[in-house]
């Protein structure tokens, strides 16, 4: 019977999906010697040394702090700017609104790499090079259009009568927007923030180009595979494992809203 075997395909799928992640975690608990020495399905000499190094060595943990700093700034900035923009697109008709809405996305049609050089020169000229705000601003170029697009979908799902009731009730516009409208589309804000976070968290090229020391992201630190003590593969695996955690954490909180966003056809 086909029904009794129906677990095979999903199991295989999940197995292959989880395999690289398992391998990364597996490696992070091994010593570099064991990794280079041969093939083992689980750590024979279990060690937490890699993690200890990351949490104690400033060159490693400041990478995380830097990444979290600019990702945080970027997410807040993108959503804060996208909220009023999305409201305008969803509620008002103005000349060229549909075209503008579409062309917003053109920023996402080019690979981030093409902007690396212009950004580098611009930020160097205004003295923003190697700051968190530089990377955060560079990422807004990609994240604001995305956030506007997502939020507009959620906002258009809220009937205009809600706004009108509030005006009749006596709300000034901003009081309505902050106290009524934003809580109503909280799910959408969660989804938009999630996508901004994810883009900014995994984007390497711009982040690496626009920083040198003070704002160097973790992904850039990780490109340093070899050091004076040779290859540090265990350390690298541990660092990689730790980069998955914030993303997994954020996904866990917005997973239901993302499903809702997909249902609206906007994610």
């Amino acid at each position: 019977m086909p029904q009794t075997k129906s677990w095979i395909v999903p199991t295989l799928y999940i197995f292959f999906l989880m395999l690289p992640i398992y391998w990364l975690v597996n490696m992070s608990f091994k010593t570099t010697n064991e990794i280079l020495g041969g093939f083992s399905l689980y750590p024979k000499e279990f060690t937490l040394e890699n993690y200890i190094t990351i949490f104690t060595d400033p060159t490693w943990y400041t990478g995380y702090l830097n990444s979290l700093a600019y990702v945080g700034i970027n997410t807040v900035l993108s959503v804060a700017v996208a909220l009023p923009a999305a409201y305008a697109f969803s509620r008002y008709r103005f000349i060229g609104d549909k075209h503008l809405f579409f062309w917003l996305l053109t920023n996402r049609m080019a690979p981030p790499a093409v902007f690396a050089l212009p950004f580098l020169q611009l930020y160097s000229a205004v003295g923003l090079f190697d700051t968190h705000i530089a990377v955060a601003l560079a990422h807004t170029l990609f994240n604001i259009p995305l956030a506007v697009w997502i939020l507009e979908g959620f906002m258009s799902g809220v009937p205009k009568e809600l706004d009108e009731t509030a005006y009749v009730d006596g709300h000034p516009f901003w009081s309505f927007f902050i106290k009524i409208f934003i809580p109503t589309i909280a799910a959408g804000i969660g989804v938009a923030a999630f996508f901004c976070f994810m883009f900014s968290w995994v984007e390497l090229l711009l982040a690496k180009t626009l920083t040198s020391v003070d704002a160097k992201p973790i992904a850039a630190t990780m490109t340093r595979t070899a050091s004076t003590s040779g290859y540090e593969l265990g350390l690298l695996a541990a660092a990689g494992t730790l980069t998955i955690i914030p993303g997994a954490f954020v996904i866990y909180f917005v997973r239901n809203y993302i499903a809702k966003g997909f249902a609206l056809g906007r994610v």
């Binding site: 009108e164 005006y167 009749v168 006596g170 709300h171 109503t184």
Partner: protein, 339 residues
């Protein structure tokens, strides 16, 4: 004193006029229903009174105050929408209390007012719930409650019952009417449902293509429709409106140009040797009365509503006569106006 006065109110989007000048005086405590097919401008008219649409020309006075340039919140109105527009993240209590909080009323006064309205609407057990935990009818009541607690000069209703099922709609329309009588608040109510309009209104405005075709009491409109449109719109089943040529047996004036003759289905009676002969196509027995679909010799369809369970068989020819002289409505065929 909460009268509403419209003086030649017009609305145009660019060069396209959508409301062609509506004038009306609404007395304190009156329940006015604006009725018409979709796209006739009835909602636009209501939204102009609310201040949600700008007025292109004319004047609107609420409680004897010119409100043309006032914001909705300064017009002393409350509005109930078709989709209720409740604040989804607030409890029923907060939904109803919010307008009062914005006016900075003391807390215990707010509570007293909300609870009074909740009792009136039988919402007391639901005050702590969220809107999504309520049924459609309950949500409708919360929307009503939100309007009531503010004690406005005027209630504005924009098709408030259209999202409810048929049975609940009938029940709610009685409730709204009773509530409005009790509170004595002037009300403007928009609907596309002519039965709702007839049963609820003190006076009706029948709108068509941005024009107020006729303003009057339901019975007035039923008995003396001023235009062919009103004649066809008010009453169910709709009035038979045919060319004079379809009724050769009736003695109609001949000196008035081409005529449209209107006879309501319920105003036709079976009479031996009656002036109208029609062949029965279909019989719909409804119990209380019987709707007969018939065909005139000219090929035009004729609806007849006979009282009780009339014994009519398909294919037979009925001899019919208008009940009395007032049952025959004559309209100018070109202008559509009553003669």
């Amino acid at each position: 004193m909460s009268t509403v006065t419209l003086r030649d109110v017009k609305k145009a989007y660019g060069d396209t006029p959508v409301i062609h000048g509506v004038s009306m005086e609404i007395q304190t405590g009156e329940f006015i229903v604006v009725v018409g097919p979709s796209g006739c401008g009835k909602s636009t008219l209501l939204r102009m009174v609310a201040g949600l649409e700008e007025i292109s020309d004319g004047e609107i006075h609420i409680a004897e105050k010119l409100v043309n340039n006032l914001e909705p919140r300064d017009r002393d109105i409350a509005m109930v929408f078709q989709n209720y527009a409740l604040y989804p993240h607030m409890s029923v209590f907060d939904n109803m209390a919010y307008g009062l909080k914005l006016r900075k009323l003391p807390k215990d006064e707010i509570r007293a007012k909300v609870e009074e309205a909740a009792d009136l609407l039988q919402l007391r057990p639901y005050l702590e719930r969220r809107p999504r935990q309520l049924s459609g009818g309950q949500r409708q009541r919360v929307a009503m409650g939100r309007a009531i607690v503010r004690e406005p000069s005027v209630f504005l209703f924009d098709e408030p019952l259209s999202n409810l099922d048929a049975k609940l709609r009938v029940q709610m329309r009685v409730e709204i009417r009773k509530l409005q009588r009790r509170l004595g608040t002037t009300s403007l109510y928009v609907t596309h449902d002519q039965v709702e309009a007839m049963t609820m209104a003190d006076r009706l405005i029948v709108m068509n293509a941005g024009v107020a075709e006729q303003i009057g009491s339901p019975i007035d409109l039923y008995e003396h429709p001023e235009t062919v449109f009103v004649a066809g719109f008010i009453g169910s089943p709709a009035m038979n409106l045919l060319d004079a040529a379809a009724f050769p047996g009736l003695s109609l004036p001949t000196d008035r140009g081409p005529l449209t003759v209107g006879i309501r289905p319920e105003h036709l009676v079976v009479a031996d040797g009656g002036p109208i002969g029609a062949t029965v196509d279909l019989v719909e027995p409804l119990g209380a009365d019987t709707i007969v679909h018939a065909q005139l010799p000219t090929g035009d369809a004729l609806l007849i509503r006979l009282p009780g369970n009339a014994k009519v068989t398909q294919g037979t020819t009925l001899s019919l006569a208008p009940k009395d002289e007032a049952a025959v409505h004559l309209f100018d065929k070109d202008t559509g106006r009553r003669i």
